[in-house]
Amino acid sequence: MDRPVSSARSQFWLGVTLFLPVAISIASYGVVWGVLAGQKGLGVLEVLLMSGLVFAGASQFVALDSWTPGSLPVIAIVVATGIVNLRMLLMSATLRPLVSHLSLPRALGAMFFVSDEQWAMTMAEMRKGGGSVAFLCGTGVLSWFAWTASTLLGRVLGAFIDDPVKYGLDVAFTATFIALLLGMWKGRGDVVPWLVGALAALVTASYLEGKWYIIVGGIVGSLAGALADQWRIKRDVA
């Protein structure tokens, strides 16, 4: 190799530097999450604990959607969190080459930082021939501070908003989810899982109280998407 293997310290700071623009966008919807969390009755300590320990934006939005203090659907929220975050299983699996030289506890520790944005940026570095566990930690540490601090800020600022419905903030959830969904569009393979997931959710939501439609739609839709992929592969081979 022409390029000398850079030190862990410089890899860490490279991760931090390259992640800065992403951190700004994370912080902007972190503020929104914090405002919504306040409306749903989460206290400052709850916001800090959830953002700091769960550290997974999409699943935290889903959890807020079902958050009803006094009668929290604990199991439903934990199950939904698992389903939304199941994708991280494949992400950490692909990062294994980066941590193969580390002891198991340290390798497992680094996996805490695996989330969509950090994973995507580290994979991009790996494809260019770089990437390291220090790089992943650099992106992860910045991401963690951006997410935790911005959700706290949103929670504190949100206390000054008197009537959220008047300002249209009640639709911020739906708006955020639609934008997140559109950002996931990768091509025609997404049509089947999205449509089937949406239809299954509509049917479930019209008959079943609670937020079970999220879990039903997510499972049915993703299975339909995988079946459609299989069918497409078979057709292309034939």
């Binding site: 902007s28 919807y29 989460l42 709850e46 959830m50 320990l53 769960v54 550290f55 999409a58 935290q60 959890a63 203090p69 929290l72 604990v74 934990v78 969190t81 698992g82 389903i83 939304v84 994708r87 991280m88 494949l90 992400m91 950490s92 699996a93 692909t94 990062l95 294994r96 390798a107 497992l108 996996m111 695996v114 300002y167 639709v171 911020a172 739906t174 708006a175 989810f177 639609i178 934008a179 997140l180 969904l181 559109l182 950002g183 997404d190 899982p193 997931g197 949406a198 299954a200 959710a201 509509l202 019209s206 999220i214 739609g217 997510g218 839709g221 993703s222 998407g225 995988a226 992929d229």
Partner: protein
């Protein structure tokens, strides 16, 4: 903080970290392609689609399709989609959806 809130948060944290750790531990056994890999790849999109569909169309038990004339969520959905397609910016799209509903509610009688 209530005990159930603490339990929920700790449960969410445990399940999420378990998934992150399991990916590494099972790396050799997880299929990189094929049915299971495709299935997991489609989960986040399907979950989000399932999450927004009833909200956008204002469907709930006892409140069927078309019960409300032009629900705020439908207006927000159209605005978000248009802005996202034009700008590719998550925050702008989300803010646009909120502003669209805010403006709609300023309209007298709406």
């Amino acid at each position: 903080m209530s005990l159930e809130a603490l339990l929920t948060i700790l449960g969410m944290a445990a399940v999420t970290y378990a998934i992150r750790a399991a990916g590494l531990l099972l790396a050799n056994r997880l299929p990189a392609q094929g049915f299971v890999a495709n299935w997991m790849k489609h989960v986040p999109g399907a979950v989000l689609a399932a999450l927004v569909a009833p909200a956008v169309l204002a469907v709930a038990p006892g409140r069927s399709l078309g019960a409300a004339f032009l629900p705020a969520e439908t207006v927000a959905a159209v605005a978000v989609t248009l802005i996202y397609v034009a700008s590719r910016n998550l925050f702008a799209a989300m803010a646009g959806g909120v502003v669209a509903v805010y403006l709609m509610r300023l309209w007298p009688g709406a």
